[in-house]
């Protein structure tokens, strides 16, 4: 304390990162998205560990630049970003608050624990309606919705349409 400059705590830095919006879905922040895996000081260097969402997500590079800019703006100059692949990012890490923000924005949030396992048996179960995968329309709340395409405006979303209010919408699919 005496004479020295207090360096910000990891919690304080996480707070700053919670104000950095996702470049593609700016209503949620990087911490809402659950991609900040660790914030820690290693000696004088701040190390921020980030996990990519999808392997080819073009936002990954922009996210790293945004993190760097946000922290430099707060006066942190000795900074290193590290990529962590394992355990792989899952939509289960999107915070409850983040899910509400998505819904309010018009994107149906992911449903926990329903990621596709790719086996035809799972697909058949979903088609025959024995699966519990019901995507509610983010606009009118109806559960009478149908999938238009497995891939929507970005790899992380699928295209749906509501059978009741007829609005098309994105579903942030589980992974």
């Amino acid at each position: 304390m005496q004479g020295g400059e207090e360096r910000p705590s990891a919690a304080e830095i996480r707070g700053w990162l919670s104000e950095v919006p996702d470049p593609e879905i700016p209503v949620i922040s990087l911490t809402d998205l659950g991609i900040i895996r660790d914030v820690a000081w290693q000696g004088e260097t701040l190390v921020v560990t980030v996990t990519p969402t999808y392997s080819g997500c073009p936002a990954t590079g922009v996210i790293n630049l945004d993190i760097e800019k946000a922290l430099r703006d707060r006066g942190i100059t000795d900074l290193r970003l590290e990529r962590q692949l394992s355990p792989p990012w899952t939509t289960d890490w999107i915070t409850a608050e983040g899910r509400e923000k998505l819904r309010a924005y018009g994107i149906a949030p992911p449903i926990d624990g329903t990621a596709a396992d790719g086996r035809p048996a799972g697909r058949i179960a979903r088609l025959s309606g024995t699966s519990n995968l019901t995507i509610a329309c983010p606009r009118c709340g109806s559960t009478q919705t149908r999938k238009v395409s497995q891939f929507g405006s970005t790899p992380c979303k699928a295209s749906y349409v509501c059978n009741d209010c007829l609005e098309p919408f994105d579903y942030f699919k589980c992974i």
Binding site: Y54, L85, G118, P120, V148, Q150, G152
Partner: protein, 255 residues
């Protein structure tokens, strides 16, 4: 165990998996702006993006294992055709939408089995890439299997096209299950499964989906090979001419 593996064999194996993703990703990206409907255009572009993303991981690791200071980009953009190790299946021309979908399905059904096995790799770097990619590929397979069924069990026209695509592409699937000394080295080190060990699960998925699609399984046909050893069809040259143009014409260009 992992450290004992011959690094040249490991590099060769990583190029095979990375090049499969790269060339198929490029092929699929060729649809961008040309698909029959907007939703499919977007789906194809996003799937290409997944594959190119996975390529960055695999070729990035290949470059690291090779230890000659090359990067994933240099491997992708500065090797000539004979140095590419992808199977012939992925360099097959797109043809019509049905042909593209059939190629994707035959590949996805294999890709998912490979990645599931690689999640248990003795090399932690391989295991973590596989654990990441397998979740994406689950969606690829769900989509391609769905569309093969819908188009196969569809109109007379769509069914005929899907059967033709199947008959054309099936003879290129055998290469996915072939093995040579490089494969044997990575299998012995516990890095990867024996290619042939993936065949039964692949057969089961393919048979089930084709039956549902009311398509006739081609059975035992002649199987083409060569890509895994760098002996490619003429199609790869055209792919590389387009894909590598920028880095060949303007070496080191960035934006």
């Amino acid at each position: 165990m992992g450290s004992a593996v011959n690094q040249a064999a490991f590099f060769e194996w990583l190029c095979r998996i990375g090049d499969n993703c790269l060339i198929l990703g490029h092929r699929v990206s060729e649809w961008c702006g040309h698909s029959p409907v907007l939703e499919e255009d977007i789906a194809l572009a996003n799937q290409a993006l997944d594959l190119i993303g996975q390529t960055q991981f695999w070729l990035g690791l290949a470059a690291e294992v090779e230890g000659k200071g090359r990067t994933a980009d240099q491997l992708a953009y500065l090797r000539d055709a004979a140095a590419f190790r992808n199977v012939l299946l992925v360099e097959r021309p797109n043809g019509d939408f049905g042909n593209t979908l059939m190629r994707q399905f035959l590949f996805d059904a294999w890709h998912i089995e490979l990645l599931r096995a690689l999640e248990k790799s003795s090399d932690a770097r391989v295991a973590e890439i596989a654990a990441k990619a397998v979740k994406e590929v689950a969606y690829h397979l769900e989509r391609s299997a769905d569309l093969v069924i819908r188009l196969g069990d569809g109109t007379e026209e769509s069914r005929a096209r899907m059967q033709k695509a199947l008959d054309t592409l099936y003879p290129y699937t055998g290469e996915l299950f072939m093995a040579d000394a490089s494969d044997e080295a990575v299998v012995a080190a516990g890095i990867a499964p024996a290619p042939a060990s993936l065949k039964a699960a692949w057969d089961a998925t393919v048979s089930q989906v084709l039956a549902e699609a009311t398509l006739t399984h081609p059975g035992d046909t002649y199987q083409h090979k060569g890509g895994r050893k760098g002996v490619h069809s003429e199609h790869l040259g055209y792919i590389l001419a387009e894909m590598q143009f920028l880095q060949r014409a303007y070496p080191g260009a960035t934006w």
